[in-house]
């Protein structure tokens, strides 16, 4: 299949999934009524459900899927390691730690402060993670060492988080665990525009990194010999990753798996490592995957909405395993 057809296929799938996400949920709303909501003869209840709840959630899923997939792609290329992802760099871990500090140490009567402060704390944590990485990237040339340092930061942040959980009250721990499972419903309508615009602009700005990213697959020295200003490229790749994973953690919580698996799925689907196709593939594929997970998490067979992190791994991991075995021969 030619690249154009693959893009069309992904766009069609994304459109269908987006509409299904508006239609399916705890209450089924037929498609004609979903479309009717955008018209003049809309029913009030359905308008509230579709426009007030499901549409923001679908846009949040789309944004989070794009952001995490592209962040994963950037990290895997930067470290030349298909196992890298936003998580392994410690950016998400520090964002989670900052939220843990807020949620697990604040008094029980400050729920409003916590609600408002979580995106802020996550952003501060992600930004701190970025600063640590940028300063290390200037001194440490080896990507493997940088990857290991990122992992150690992650372990350290998790350990501190565990101590905080141990010392916190049961109610505080419950709230934090729920946040840790991630949710797409917490993004307010005002934040949604900011979230979507930041993700879209950051993803599209990666178009200027296509050549450096392609060359980085051969190693940073080889990239340098092909004319890439590797110091500048490194800073922009890390900056874009921190923005994408930080803003997603800030608004939706720490969503795992997508950043690790989606770049692989896109490589298998497009059968190329050219980052022009990888970038658009990750944006479209990540959005499709996240919206699919959102649909599954809201199916009426479950009594409540399942946390998104459970769905991404529960349904995504077997699919990736199947892809690996199916494509092993053709990728060798």
């Amino acid at each position: 299949m030619k690249f154009g057809l693959k893009y069309i296929l992904l766009l069609v799938i994304l459109g269908v999934l987006f509409i299904l996400d508006l239609s399916w949920g705890a209450t089924y709303i037929p498609l004609e009524k979903v479309f009717g909501v955008f018209g003049s003869n809309a029913c009030v209840n359905e308008t509230i459900v579709v426009l007030g709840f499901r549409l923001p959630k679908a846009i949040a899923a789309l944004s989070a899927g794009m952001a995490l997939s592209v962040a994963g792609m950037l990290m895997q290329t930067f470290f030349r390691n298909p196992l890298a992802g936003p998580y392994v760099l410690g950016i998400n871990s520090l964002a989670s730690l900052a939220v843990a500090l807020l949620m697990l140490t604040a008094g029980t009567g400050v729920a409003v402060i916590i609600d408002c402060g979580v995106p802020f704390a996550a952003s501060v944590g992600a930004f701190a993670g970025l600063l640590v990485l940028l300063s290390l990237a200037r001194k440490i040339k080896s990507s493997v060492h940088l990857l290991m340092i990122g992992m150690m930061i992650g372990f350290l942040a998790s350990a501190i988080q565990s101590v905080l959980e141990y010392l916190a009250t049961a109610a505080q721990v419950k709230n934090f665990i729920l946040w840790n499972m991630a949710s797409l419903s917490n993004v307010t309508e005002y934040d949604l525009v900011t979230f979507f615009v930041i993700v879209l602009v950051t993803c599209l700005s990666c178009l200027f990194l296509i050549k450096p990213l392609n060359a980085m697959l051969l190693g940073h020295e080889q990239a340098s010999l092909l004319g890439v200003n590797i110091k500048v490229a490194k800073i922009f790749v890390l900056l874009a990753t921190a923005v994408l994973s930080g803003v997603t953690t800030a608004y939706c919580g720490p969503i795992g798996f997508v950043g690790l698996a989606m770049p692989y799925m896109v490589r298998v689907f497009f059968k190329t490592t050219n980052h022009l196709h990888q970038l658009f593939g990750c944006m479209l594929g990540g959005a499709c995957f996240m919206i699919s997970c959102d649909i599954i998490s809201n199916l009426p067979i479950f009594d409540n909405t399942l946390p998104i992190n459970i769905i991404t791994s529960l349904f995504g991991a077997p699919y990736v395993l199947w892809l690996i075995f199916k494509n092993k021969a053709s990728f060798d």
């Binding site: 178009l207 060359a215 051969l218 080889q222 092909l226 890439v228 490589r267 490592t273 990728f331």
Partner: protein
């Protein structure tokens, strides 16, 4: 006039290199096009360090590296990538890049942000694939190739980069006998037809002595000897270390 039509010179002037401890000190080398130059020396004596330094990856602690009148450490990576290129001795790739995509990267110094190729780039890439006899597997992924096939792909990438100075670090380590012979013949042909300066570090002494115009020999005490191939092969150090008897 293009670079390929002129007589080029590539020289190292009183330069010293090394990581924490100096490896090679106060060396002066001068090469002119067309020329195939072999670099020989025992393991760990600084052949790779010398090549990395000559291509702009490892700044010398003293002295300069000059191409014609240009100090290669005084220009940007993008400018340098059009003058000097290097093929590494080992190339570990974890991602399934196709052979064609990898050879295309040789044109990166000449392309835009999106690495778009024009008709001329495509012709150069096709020619490089043919010269290295890898056209029949250009759609295969690099991860599925043998070490020898991978080496040919990286040689093709360097040919596609079309720099007036081409550096190879052990390019024939994984090649079979006939491919080694073909590689050295090809380098001679390219150097002569396109006015290139080609430096090849290798342990294939027989091929180097047969196909190079000059030899750079790094001795055990890190003395660097440079001369015509026939001069260097007559030296006592060469006879002691690089001949069978």
């Amino acid at each position: 006039m293009s670079l390929g039509d002129t007589k080029n010179t590539f020289q190292a002037q009183n330069y010293s290199i090394g990581y924490d401890v100096p490896v090679l000190q106060n060396i002066s080398l001068k090469f002119s096009s067309p020329g195939v130059v072999g670099i020989i020396g025992n393991n760990g004596k600084g052949k790779t360090t010398l090549l990395k330094s000559l291509c702009g990856l490892l700044k010398p602690s003293a002295g300069k590296i000059i191409f014609n009148d240009t100090d290669i450490y005084g220009i940007t990576n993008a400018e340098r990538a059009k003058l000097v290129s290097l093929s590494f001795s080992s190339n570990h790739i974890s991602f399934p890049i196709s052979v064609y995509e990898l050879v295309c990267m040789g044109r990166y110094p000449y392309t835009n942000h999106w690495a778009g190729l024009n008709q001329n780039d495509k012709l150069i890439i096709d020619e490089a694939l043919e010269l290295c006899r890898i056209k029949e597997f250009k759609d295969k992924f690099i991860t599925g190739l043998s070490d020898g096939e991978k080496q040919k792909v990286f040689i093709a990438k360097l040919i596609a980069q079309q720099t007036p100075v081409m550096l190879f670090d052990e390019p024939t380590a994984f090649l079979d006998y006939s491919s080694k012979k073909y590689f050295f013949q090809l380098m001679q042909k390219i150097a002569t037809e396109q006015q290139k300066i080609i430096l090849i570090s290798s342990h294939d002494i027989d091929f180097l002595t047969a196909y190079t115009d000059e030899l750079v020999m790094i001795e055990d005490d890190e003395t660097v000897v440079c001369g015509t191939t026939s001069e260097v092969t007559q030296s006592t150090y060469f006879k002691t270390h690089f001949t069978r008897v």
